[in-house]
Amino acid sequence: MKNIMIRRFFVFVFFIYSFNAKALIEVDITRGNLNPLPIAVSPMSIDEESRKNFEKILKKKNIGSEISKIVEKNLKTSGLFNPLNKDAFLQAPDIANLKPRFEDWNLIKAQALITGKVNLINEKLRLEFRLWDVLAGKEMMALAFTTVPNNWRRVGHIITDKVYERLTGEKGYFDTRIIYVAEEGPKTRRIKKLAIMDQDGANNKFLTLGNELVLTPRFNPTSQMVTYLSYFRNLPRVYLLDIETGMQEVVGDFPGMTFAPRFSPDGKKIIMSFAKDGNSDIYTMDLENRIVEKITNHPSIDTSPSYSPDGKYISFNSDRSGYQQIYTMESNGKNVKRISFGKGLYGTPVWSPRGDLIAFTKLHKGKFYIGVMRTDGSGERLLTENFYQEAPSWSPNGRVLIFYRETKTDDKGEGFSAKLWSIDLTGYNERQVVTPTDASDPSWSSLLSN
């Protein structure tokens, strides 16, 4: 468990040409992008000696093209870009990185171009890359990184984040990880393990063995900690796990079942439900001084709490009106307001990292929907409908939601599966996030290099 180390990154800007921002390309991410921007990702050029040394260290034939492949795949999955086929590229990678022949790239209809160079210097991987506006014939960005060779995949993700940010004006979400529950076995005796992977599905690792049932892992937005529900010794309790050291501990000394944990935005508190005598209320525990506070006090079910990004408000799920609905309140529990009023039941409210929206699961007439509404409940928009799906989690930039979806069983109770899916806030670009086993309860980390 301890082998998941975040190695330190050295990022610095080495030069940026002055440019005329108005004339350069921009990608609008506020609406469904039906015309993704054609972009050429030239393979990162590499000298022969570095190539051979990397091959020895990383067992990859050409690390330059491997990094480019990661960038290309990320850009494609975002739905905002259309990476062009490399066979059509006319210019060699090393020369393109020095000075692209814009006419050539224009000819294959590329509007943006990424070039770069990778070397091995003092056993460190050094990469520089440039983003070019093909139509304007200008450089838009130039950056260099130095890191340990093992971090080569992350280099690809960071390049994508920088390109995404430069072209859309918003932070990316590619240098991130997903923690989720890996599932196997028949539905009646399902084995569940905590698992973690990079946002693109690489580097999958299991964090627990599957001896006890585990549910709902959630990342701390500020560190490599995770909170989750474990049935260790058949006592359902909220736990804290440090994914770097593998240390686990139970959260708080509650005499009954604790569940539905999430971190506060500053990472210093855990908010969760505590169930006793048929009543679930919301509590917080301060991780530094271990002080426990009761936030709701109502004979109904109060669960699935989630803080607003400024920490001032909490959204939660309650059936105090008779059925499951979404409510908000101040973080001290005052001023409770029901915000969901549409037809059906509402659950799993999750506050967007941008603060403007709450994502939720809705059940109506036997169907499950993932949707978003404003924090006062107005402007409800359903993004996707299916037999069963729930538990949306936001990308750190608040543009994409990851959730899980189960398929219905047939008459014999077979054919069941659970998979992770992602969808843009616009309702477009729905994709399966491939995992080695069945999967549920995804939670998206913050950007690792920030």
Partner: protein, 172 residues
Amino acid sequence: MKKSRIRNIDQGAIMKLNKIFKNAFLITIACLVLSACATQKKAGQMQGDVYTGKDTVEYLASGVPDRVFFATNESVLTTASRETLRKQAAWLRKNSKVTVVLEGHADERGTREYNLALGERRANAAKDYLMTYGISSDRISVLSYGKERPVDSGSNPLAWSKNRRSVTVKAN
């Protein structure tokens, strides 16, 4: 003219009747096919949407069923559930050393966290009833599995009704 119109109307009526018969016939066939496929879907397995069958029930002792069933999104005990729990209470009074865990469950048609709370509420409804028949709360602990441990993996109303349950399990 008049006659022919009447005849036309009659013919229309007859065609309609034919259609109705045809539909009725199709429906009966559909019913037969359904009942043939799902042999467990006998009449009397569900009342409203509460399971009343015996397929999944186990016994703590002869004549003492281990579980009670609930309606969708409900934790109210039915008449049948109360009868089962009275039998459990009588058995627990006789076997005063036995302690039990009440495991509350929900069907798959709900969000995970809400269902955990709902399972806890169901198991507590059973616990409260056992207590009113003289079983000390020291002997009863409560656990919710939400929708994590269905007994029937089907995605249909009958399977869901079997899964909405509180099961009394001997703990020692």
